[in-house]
């Protein structure tokens, strides 16, 4: 078996272990506060997996992911609330609508590069936020916000309670990881890494950089839309503030803390960014200070992110092309 095929198998093994860990945690933890925190971590991880593909692999720094999160959330919520679509179907529509809107704005947006692309995506995120908060008849704006009276369900199974939502989010996280791993271990993944380092050379081997960029942008937006939809079904009552600029920043931090070179980093980054503030709760006034200091320390001592840093501690091998 070739080394690349073996690396893919190892990743699938990792996926199996991750699934077992999620099951273990789900069986042990029953406190609804901790479950809620874990659900937020999973939701954030799903978005971050998408952003890792866009930012880490293709090198496109997007500060507009909150827009796709919001589009996903409102699509899922509206279709279920107003059109009484089954929640699972609404969730799939959330993925599709976020993906399609990314595809539509991707072509013009992705003509830009570097800091210009980042600024343009930031502007898109702000416009989307303003739209969410002003279209009050549909979204409820900032006040009162959206009230979703239906709970999540699949067929006859009602899954609205916190424990069930944990299982639902876990399943979608594993599925998203699987899709991302499939992408990375294919000519698609190689094309993304290629266009990140040299656009002319990528074109020179037959890679249409424009269409690969917009495709990965749309796929990532679909993942972000999925997490937005899950957020809507978990919260049931939310307002547009949830989709402001802070969310885009937080997702970028998750990816940078986790890893830019591996989708596994998204899990570590999301766990870190979501769980750490909770663990530091006792420090009260010093909470933000310690939180910031830890982030700076990670960036200094593990510049490739938590995942690569921890991996190196475990196997003590020099930096290698691990994906």
């Amino acid at each position: 078996m070739s080394s690349l095929r073996r690396s893919y198998r190892q990743n699938l093994l990792g996926l199996g272990i991750a699934a077992l860990l999620l099951v273990g945690v789900g069986l042990i933890v029953s406190n609804s506060f901790y479950l809620t925190t874990l659900i937020f971590a999973l939701i954030s991880a799903i978005s971050a997996i998408g952003l890792t593909l866009v930012f880490g692999f293709a090198g496109l720094a997007s500060l507009g992911q909150a827009a796709f999160f919001g589009i996903g959330a409102y699509t899922a919520a509206c279709l279920t609330e107003f059109y009484h679509l089954p929640p699972l179907l609404s969730l799939m529509c959330a993925v599709a609508s976020a993906s399609l809107s990314a595809w539509a704005i991707g072509r013009p947006l992705l003509r830009l590069s570097g800091v210009y692309l980042t600024m343009a995506s930031l502007a898109f995120g702000l416009i989307a936020y303003l739209t969410f908060s002003q279209m009050r008849r549909i979204t409820g704006g900032l006040d009162p916000g959206f009230m979703l009276t239906h709970e999540f369900s699949i067929g006859p199974f009602r899954l609205g309670d916190t424990h069930s939502m944990y299982w639902v989010c876990s399943c979608f996280t594993i599925a998203t990881l699987l899709v991302a791993l499939n992408l990375i271990h294919s000519k698609f993944g190689r094309a993304l890494r290629a266009l990140k380092s040299s656009a002319p050379a990528s074109e020179g081997v037959g890679i249409s950089t424009a269409s690969y960029k917009s495709t990965v942008f749309a796929i990532a937006a679909g993942m972000t839309g999925l997490s937005g939809g899950l957020y809507a079904f978990f919260m049931r009552s939310f307002n547009a503030t949830a989709f402001n600029f802070n969310l885009s920043i937080e997702l970028l931090v998750v990816v940078m803390i986790g890893s830019l070179r591996s989708v596994w980093g998204a899990l570590f980054g999301a766990a870190f960014v979501t769980l750490l503030p909770t663990l530091l709760e006792n420090l009260e006034d010093f909470k933000l200070f310690v939180y910031g200091a830890i982030i700076v320390a990670i960036m200094m001592f593990m510049p490739d992110g938590l995942f690569d840093g921890l991996l190196r501690l475990v196997i003590r091998s020099p930096r290698k092309a691990d994906v």
């Binding site: 070739s2 080394s3 690349l4 095929r5 699987l178 899709v179 499939n182 992408l183 271990h185 294919s186 000519k187 698609f188 190689r190 094309a191 890494r193 290629a194 990140k196 380092s197 040299s198 002319p200 050379a201 990528s202 074109e203 020179g204 081997v205 037959g206 890679i207 249409s208 950089t209 495709t215 796929i219 070179r261 290698k320 092309a321």
Partner: protein, 252 residues
């Protein structure tokens, strides 16, 4: 196979390529030589879709490739290497060559997302093409797993050549393949290119190393200030007074 006619490229006030015409016959090595700044790389860039000409045409197998984006031209079967290395970062040697074989894959995004069995077959096909190309370019198989960027310069140039060969090109554009190589590496390169030539590959070579050019080429086109000043067999151009003047300066 490749026909360039009346090709002109203007950069603001500078006339980089001026009404240039020549053809690259199939199965032969054609060299494009000339002093620095003569416009050789600009011609390669227009033939590979990186630059659009101001005027004139480039046809490949009778089909105009002007206005086609780089990836379309690449899929027609034109591969190239670069004067300054354009290596892919964070990739093993094998992966770089596999990226070169990109056009061998036909899968769409959906089968990739769901990891269908066709992807496994395609990956195997691409990997075989990449391994063959690396062997052809003389990259030792012990290096296949290494990060391509950490290799010495001469080997990186070989990996780049393998990347171009992995696409199974019908026309190979080489932009100063011997630049920066030491004499031993240049000799190895020359042997390698002879083998490729014997295999029937069509090559358009831009190069400053005259020994290499004279030994490998079937035809030579000499450029100066964007114009072709001579064309013919290596022996013909060597004795052309205009060529001697361009390279050595005129005798008073």
């Amino acid at each position: 196979m490749l026909a360039v006619s009346n090709l002109t490229k203007r950069f603001a006030g500078l006339l980089a390529v001026d009404n240039l015409s020549f053809t690259v016959p199939a199965g032969k090595v054609t060299a494009l030589i000339g002093p620095n700044g003569a416009g050789k790389t600009t011609v390669l860039s227009m033939a590979s879709g990186l630059l659009q000409p101001s005027n004139g045409s480039v046809t490949f197998d009778g089909r105009s490739i002007i206005g086609s984006p780089g990836h379309t031209i690449a899929r027609l079967g034109i591969s190239r290497t670069y004067q300054n290395l354009q290596m892919f970062e964070d990739m093993s040697v094998l992966e770089v060559a596999m990226t070169g074989a990109h056009r061998c894959g036909t899968s769409n995004i959906w089968s990739t997302l769901f990891g269908l069995p066709s992807i496994i077959r395609e990956e195997r096909l691409i990997e075989t093409a990449a391994r063959d190309a690396l062997a052809e370019a003389g990259v030792p198989s012990t290096l296949f797993g290494q990060d391509a960027e950490t290799l010495p310069y001469g080997l990186q140039r070989r990996v780049e050549l393998a990347r171009a060969l992995a696409a199974k090109p019908r026309l190979l554009l080489l932009d100063e393949p011997a630049a920066g190589l030491n004499p031993v590496e240049t000799r190895d390169l020359s042997a390698l290119l002879s083998t490729l030539r014997a295999g029937g590959l069509t090559v358009l070579l831009v190069e400053h190393d005259m020994d290499l050019v004279m030994k490998l080429s079937d035809y030579v086109v000499v450029m100066n200030f964007g114009r072709a000043i001579a064309a013919g067999t290596p022996r013909q151009v060597q004795s052309d007074p205009q060529v001697v003047e361009a390279y050595l300066g005129a005798e008073d």
